[in-house]
């Protein structure tokens, strides 16, 4: 059971759990692909027989003495912790608390759990807590809405437009534009009056005839400004704004049908995502390990992934139905940890259900921290698992991740970067292991794969596009993993 819970907890980090509903909200077809690959890829990786059969304990080490996989996985775990702690900071800001509070709570709790030996076997318990705490608000929302998930999906898919609900906090009290930090531009589809409850400076790009112009207003508290269709708010503003009820949400799909029937991205992008997750899962779940799953173990892993995907779908549908304002500025992960439907529940139920969601997120993070620590410890070349039990090392890891999280980042992009990098370094050898006694070949292939991955990942910063090249830059594992596999194949050929 422990190995099953470690697989689930290591794979189902809070960022991953929220990335699927966020993708479903943003573009249904792409979200389905992400969720399906996220649910099936670990099963594929665990199903691939690689390496020698282990001893009766159920898990074992395939390679010893090589520092390369240890260092690679250590960096991967660090980046994954960074992504999840940064998400905690985003959630704190979204819930109107200081960013550092979310960061400190999660980082300290995670470090304590990994440092205190008696708490290291709590992953199954934490996963169970996360499951109950996430499902309870979902059932409550479904009951309050009075629609099952399929009927709710149908309701969303037949909406004429996504409009601000009158009870939305963006309408009643207003929110800071800094919290709408998604990637979508804030372009208005119709005339919209914005009010600044506390005053401040608002900048927008408008069309002056056919010529674009940038206008800046200095608003006194309570003063309003009216924007026309096609006008766009300049990103980077921190002004608190109130929007009008029943007006279209800027950045939302044109209608429910447009949301449900938007064509998926190019197939090459979908293959890029699949390869990234496949090699990432190979690195994270089985590089250097041979995991044996009995029938009930395989069932638990598959069932856990199925439940997580089902939760993500239902949560996304109810969130879009009850809180279409989550489209404002693009769907960000932290907004999905807020309870949808401002008018659905009265206090104190609303606060209680919100607390359930936060407990679910924290429990999932703690479970993944325990699982990742155990994963790294199992790879320790000294054989004693010292890396997994060094409190100083883990304090440094959590401390560094917490410090880096003070600056907002895209947690999902970081997670993909970590999985892609680890996948290119360790994935090919995990899926296509070199002959016994040739660990150096795996290291060489991993180094080449990682180098190619890093080169293309660095090109992301330049933002260069193009069809094939653009996909390779967007998903560098699409190039890095085959490069590593090629080195492995050539090395095997020479050995033969």
């Amino acid at each position: 059971m422990t190995s099953v819970s470690r697989v689930l907890a290591g794979w189902l980090t809070p960022v991953a759990l929220l990335a699927v509903p966020a993708a479903l909200c943003g573009r249904a077809a792409d979200g389905l692909w992400l969720g399906l690959t996220w649910a099936l890829v670990p099963l594929i990786v665990l199903g691939l027989q690689a390496g020698p059969r282990p001893g009766p304990a159920g898990g074992g080490r395939d390679e010893r003495g090589s520092l390369f996989p240890v260092v690679t996985l250590l960096l991967t775990v660090g980046v994954l912790l960074w992504a999840n702690i940064a998400l905690a900071g985003d959630v704190a800001v979204w819930l109107r608390a200081p960013r550092w509070q979310g960061i400190v709570v999660t980082a300290v709790a995670g470090w304590l759990l990994t440092a205190w030996r008696p708490l290291r076997r709590t992953a199954p318990l934490l996963l169970s807590v996360a499951l109950v705490a996430a499902v309870a608000p979902l059932l409550q929302v479904a009951w309050a809405v009075g629609l099952g998930p399929i009927a709710a999906w149908d309701r969303v898919a037949t909406q004429a437009a996504f409009r601000f609900p009158p009870a939305s906090p963006w309408v009643t009290t207003g929110r800071s534009l800094a919290t709408a930090h998604g990637r979508a531009p804030l372009v208005f589809d119709e005339v919209h009056r914005l009010t600044a409850p506390a005053g401040g400076t608002l900048r927008a790009r408008t069309l002056d005839g056919t010529r674009p112009a940038e206008i800046e207003w200095t608003l006194t508290p309570g003063q309003s400004v009216t924007l026309r269709a096609g006008d766009e708010l300049v990103p980077g503003g921190t002004l608190r704004l109130r929007f009008e009820a029943d007006k279209r949400v800027p950045g939302a799909p044109a209608s429910g049908m447009a949301w449900a029937e938007a064509p998926p991205r190019r197939w090459l992008d979908r293959v890029g995502l699949l390869v990234t997750l496949l090699v990432g899962a190979a690195a994270l779940l089985r590089a250097g390990l041979t995991l044996r799953l009995p029938r009930h173990g395989a069932g638990f892993v598959a069932g856990g992934l199925l439940v997580a995907f089902a939760w993500a779908q239902a949560w996304a549908v109810y969130a879009v139905l009850q809180s279409p304002d989550l489209f404002l500025g693009g769907v960000a992960l932290e907004r999905l940890l807020g309870l949808p439907g401002a008018a659905l529940f009265a206090e104190p139920w609303r606060r209680t259900l919100q607390a359930f969601l936060l407990v679910a997120g924290l429990a999932a993070f703690l479970a993944s921290s325990v699982a990742l620590r155990a994963r790294l410890g199992a790879l320790d070349p000294t054989g004693g698992g010292e890396i997994g039990s060094d409190p100083g090392l883990w304090a440094g890891l959590f401390g560094g991740a917490a410090l880096a999280s003070l600056w907002p980042v895209d947690p999902w992009a970081l997670t993909l970067l970590a999985l892609g990098g680890a996948g290119c370094a360790l994935g090919p050898a995990a899926l296509y292991p070199p002959p016994p006694g040739r660990a150096a070949l795996a290291t060489t292939a991993g180094a080449v794969g990682l180098l190619v991955f890093a080169t293309f990942a660095a090109a992301q910063l330049r933002g260069t596009g193009g069809a094939l090249l653009g996909t390779a830059i967007g998903y560098p594992a699409l190039v890095g993993a085959p490069a590593g596999a090629l080195v492995l194949w050539l090395g095997r050929g020479r050995a033969g």
């Binding site: 969720g35 099936l40 665990l46 449900a260 395989a298």
Partner: protein, 70 residues
Amino acid sequence: MRPVSTRSTGVVLLWLLLAGFLVLGALPNQTASIRLGGLSVLWWYGGLLAPALGTLVAIRWLADSPPRDE
């Protein structure tokens, strides 16, 4: 040549489930958008059928056989 194991069968079936989603999305005339029982065909497959079948495949084919007496 390595023998085809039950795991290999399971892995192939899981790949087919993933490929099915890509094929469904590539069908002409937006076939995947057709609504059946309030849900699009794509969502029936990608959100319900394929994950459920994946779970069944994992239970049936991916588990290790119990160790033989040695």
